[in-house]
């Protein structure tokens, strides 16, 4: 079998505070193949944000290993090397634009940090701006454009250095329902065109079913993997699919898992 693109091998994260230690993620393992679109689903406090931050080198692991392309990338103390980080693009829950830079400067930030210069990369910026309809707003400041536009800018900033993996931390959670649906469809479009590996974090069951090929369901206290559900739904996915029986079946299945978690919490 092919080497998985991303592999978590019994990863645990414990946060030590002054008077207690909190297990945010416990003994988490998963394998994601190249080009897959997977969702990590769970209620708030289940450690899904911690999980994706460990993968992107923002938070160090406590124990266990993370592999990308078969190479061990995590380290308990040291920072993740930049050539590994270059393989990934992180999309935050908020647009997270720097207000003193124009849209174009914000999107070019990873190019500067990764020291990618030249016409090829400038062209990449232009193409991405064009792709999400921000070309005319390239020289606007973040405070001058709408929330949906800002989040689009956040998506293409994560793509500008041509990463193989996109990590999305509830990326459209702060947007209104209509804009979110639209963004989800655009995301599927980008994914089918580029074939990038996508790890999508969400607490929205419908969103997880609509977008991904596999859903990892996480539970709380401690944050852990509860269930893995493979979704055999046809591609390309469409919004109209949410009323089809198979879709509803998967949704109900996931609801039961999430429900189980909530019940165990009440006890």
């Amino acid at each position: 079998m092919k080497e998985p693109k991303i592999k978590f091998d019994h990863v645990t994260k414990i946060f030590e505070t002054r008077n207690q230690s909190i297990t945010a993620v416990k003994d988490y393992s998963m394998e994601i193949q190249e080009g897959e679109f997977v969702a990590i689903l769970g209620p708030s406090g289940c450690g899904k944000s911690t999980l994706i931050r460990m993968l992107d080198g923002i938070i160090p692991t406590t124990s266990g290993d993370i592999y990308i392309d078969g190479q061990k990338v995590n380290h308990e103390k040291k920072k993740m090397p930049q050539e590994v980080l270059r393989k990934m693009g992180f999309i935050f829950q908020q647009p997270n634009m720097l207000p003193w830079f124009t849209v174009r400067q914000n999107i070019s930030l990873p190019l500067q940090v990764f020291a990618l210069k030249g016409a090829k990369w400038e062209k990449q910026v232009d193409e991405l701006l064009e792709m999400v309809g921000l070309k005319e707003y390239a020289n606007a400041y973040p405070s001058e454009i709408s929330g949906g536009m800002l989040q689009r800018a956040g998506v293409i900033r994560a793509m500008v250095h041509d990463p193989e993996i996109l990590l999305m931390d509830e990326p459209f959670g702060a947007l209104d329902e209509l804009t979110r649906e639209q963004m989800n469809m655009e995301l599927l479009d980008i994914w089918s065109k580029t074939g990038k590996t996508i790890v999508f974090i969400t607490h929205n069951i419908e969103e997880a079913v609509l977008l991904s090929s596999r859903v990892y369901v996480m539970g709380t206290q401690p944050g852990r993997l509860v269930e893995t559900v493979d979704l055999n739904l046809p591609r390309p996915r469409q919004l109209s699919m949410i009323t089809q029986p198979e879709f509803i079946e998967y949704r109900q299945k996931l609801e039961r898992f999430i429900g189980k978690i909530d019940l165990s919490k009440i006890k």
Binding site: R53, D56, G57, I58, K79, M80, P81, Q82, L85, M88, F90, F92, Q94, N96, L98, P99, W100, L109, P110, Q112, V113, F114, Y141, S143
Partner: protein, 251 residues
Amino acid sequence: MKKKSRISSVAAPVVSFLLIFFIWEMACVVNEIPAWFLPKPTEIFKSMVVDFPEFWPHILVTLEVVLIGFLIAIPVGLTIATLVTSSPLLNAAMSPYITFLVTTPLISLIPLLMLMMGYGLNMRITTVVIQSFAVINMNACTGFNNVPVIRKELMQSMGASPVKTFVKMTLPSAATDIFTGLRLAAIFATTTCISVEYSAGNTGLGSQIIKYSQYLKTTQSFACIFYVTIIGLIMYSLISIAQKKIVSWKE
């Protein structure tokens, strides 16, 4: 509507200014208050013009001390704030001394500094630096500590170097707080400079205020006070202009 409010925002302070000085003038004239006790504003303004050649060298000395002290305090304050906020160890080691500098009334240090450094410019500038860098440092620390976590994560997710992170993200994030510190420091610098001149040497506007008061030349004393006010105002507005130029974005 907008135009109207702009006119009133300019006209209102001018009118109130004129009114206050008119009342002051009238109070002096009607009650026949002697000039050595409270001079008439018109006399003070006259002295500011007529005695200007006499004041000018002292204005220059005060300006020099305030400006040089302030300009040294900026990099000192910012550097220490950067070091302190980037390392818990340095923070633990240095913060007691910064608190000590802020809480000790500076006046109490002046005799000691005079003993060690004499009456000259060096001693005055040193005093101004000590007093104003602490304020800059404290506000910059607030700014650096309040950088949103999500922005730090953005830089971490790209593995940005400490220098790049500082220049592109941390410094602009803290800019508003830094400018608050600079504005306070400009006031502190002027105040400190005058306090030092009260007690050390016979140059600078502070020393002149004392001198004229002792000779009961209250009019000239007031003229010097007004020049001090002007220096303070100039410093304050220069920083406000710089802030508007530099921090031009909306959060």
